[in-house]
Symmetry: C4
Subunit: 205 residues, 4 copies
């Protein structure tokens, strides 16, 4: 009975993509709510305003990092969905779980930005990244096993998608492990990995 | 006069789907605004931070429940809209009402999470779920009666859609009735039903 | 020089529709942020909770009214855009102005709900509705004059669209005028008009 | 290895457009959160309410300016994306950077509105506009160099797109330079430029 319904449910890749874009858009802009214009009372000169803005820079950087991290995973999810002919209910739920961790990312980034010296914060951040990566990995597995992938994709695509996720997650895990030396080593390494993924397409030219 | 306009109004399933995805995206991420990073002043050790995060866990679970509930209804609405060739103004209004209850869901979930022992909170939550289900039921009735359904759908689809809504709502109503014994029985049963709907597609393999 | 650019700019109806759906989704859910769960401290019995929820009902009703008003204009805009083959930059700007008034609607509705006896609040609300209607009217004029409308639309469509906007705005203006007798007459009349537009498609069957 | 993935990643213009519409929708409505209905306690007459609303007018104007600025860049981005057959990962990242500056725009506009006499505020605003324009310029360069542009575009399009960006940025830069005389000259000039871009399509008829 449930099976009959499940065979027809959640088949639209377009709807999945549209919900994802909405949720990514919201999650990516969430931290901008914390950027508040300096109060008029404390600003009496250009210098004061400059200082007020400089005081906001840690938040701005944290916001940029979240935007970048979510951008990486948005590109990753998009690349998968672009190769799918249709979805099914199992894939839909994997992506709903993925989107849940997307919406948590601003929180865990803010946590890490505020408690840079704490392993608990680093662990929470890494778990977030790990769940995002795992969801994408499961999604691709589900898509290839259930025959949801388009017929005309290039033969190297499936392996490239898997390899990318595994490589990235291995690097993130290594970064997380660096917290045994010090959490700042972890943060620096993870940030480097993310910058690499953003800039690589431009450098590789 | 109005009739002439109503015959041409609200015919786009795509627009309905896009508005729905926007509203679902917003409603699903709404409760993440309540997840605030622990204040720096109260955290002096890893242990404190761990405690601070543990104190957030009820909110996180509530957020997950809302995300899951809305995920279930998103899949349900999507499944219907996927089978429609076009919309009409009556169907549009049924879905606008549906979306209203979607946006109320974070509120009623938060209400229930805060007042787990109160029948009024349980009733409010159940009414929310009931209205969501009823809107989907009315929507399918309107779609089939007005000939909005695609020509090539499999013959078992209409019955499967109805049966799914009726079964789910019967289970939710039974869960709500359990509050005569105790509201926590209700909550446990309803949560179980929702987990079942999320996990069934994976188990049924 | 500018003309060359303007001939190629803003031609996508799909993008206009997608931006609109995003902005409508946000504006329609904005007032739900004001629905806060009653504080635990003031609730000691089922009765207290019931009272706490009853105290929220004016906000809930105001939220429903906004949702309904925006629903009406969403259907109106959708109906126009569904009949367009393409957009141009002039039409895009008319709709950006339209969307500006969409985002102001929650504010002006909240203003009217809080100051039901004040003509200034009624005037602000009515101006909002008037600007929304005028933008749609200008949009249709621009679309028909610039040949943006699809070739295969039924001959009665253009007149039906105009008539609908003019009739509705005449009714709203009459409602606003009723404030000479008393603002509550205005509010009752305008609410009635809106209910009529929502329910008419169902009654007309 | 990374190259293989990068060749298949981020190819969907539709997803890029959908994410952009979501982020624009959110950024454009962000400042409406600051429009709060006057408190009931301070309003005892029509006159008080009128004053209360008049006191909101600077915020309303600032909100309109943000809406307009973002509208200009939304049209600009849309015009580019409309002419693309597909995207690639480099273009995706240019647009993610563009969207970052889109979400910052409400902040920098609010900053300028509050500190109209401060060059630091003007500089921050101008940098924001400059980054938006530069991202669009880079995007068009990337699209034409990488062969992402549709085959059937009119021959004058590429030049018109570039010229528009360069002209606009030159005008904005001149406006920013006017702050050597006084920041209000800058603001007036920049506002004039923006009004021109909004109204030009209507005047040019």
């Amino acid at each position: 009975m449930t099976t009959a319904y499940n065979r027809i449910a959640g088949q639209s890749v377009e709807r999945l993509a549209a919900l994802s874009d909405g949720i990514f858009a919201f999650a990516m802009t969430l931290l901008v709510l914390d950027l508040r214009v300096p109060a008029m009372e404390v600003v009496h000169s250009e210098h004061d305003l400059w200082h007020g803005l400089a005081a906001l820079s840690p938040r701005l950087i944290m916001y940029m990092m979240t935007f970048m991290t979510l951008g990486i995973f948005w590109v990753g999810q998009q690349t998968q969905l672009n190769h799918l002919a249709r979805s099914n209910i199992r894939l839909s739920w994997i992506h709903i779980a993925f989107l849940f961790f997307v919406t948590i990312t601003p929180f865990s980034t803010a946590l890490l930005a505020q408690f840079t010296a704490y392993r608990v914060a680093l662990l929470a951040y890494w778990l977030n990244i790990l769940f995002l990566g795992s969801a994408l990995y499961l999604s691709w597995g589900c898509a290839t096993r259930s025959g949801l992938v388009k017929d005309d994709i290039a033969p190297e695509v499936p392996a490239a998608v898997c390899r990318r996720i595994v490589t990235a997650q291995a690097l993130y895990a290594f970064g997380a492990l660096l917290c045994l030396i010090g959490t700042r080593w972890s943060i620096a390494f993870i940030a480097m990995v993310q910058f690499y993924y953003v800039l690589a397409p431009r450098l590789s030219r």
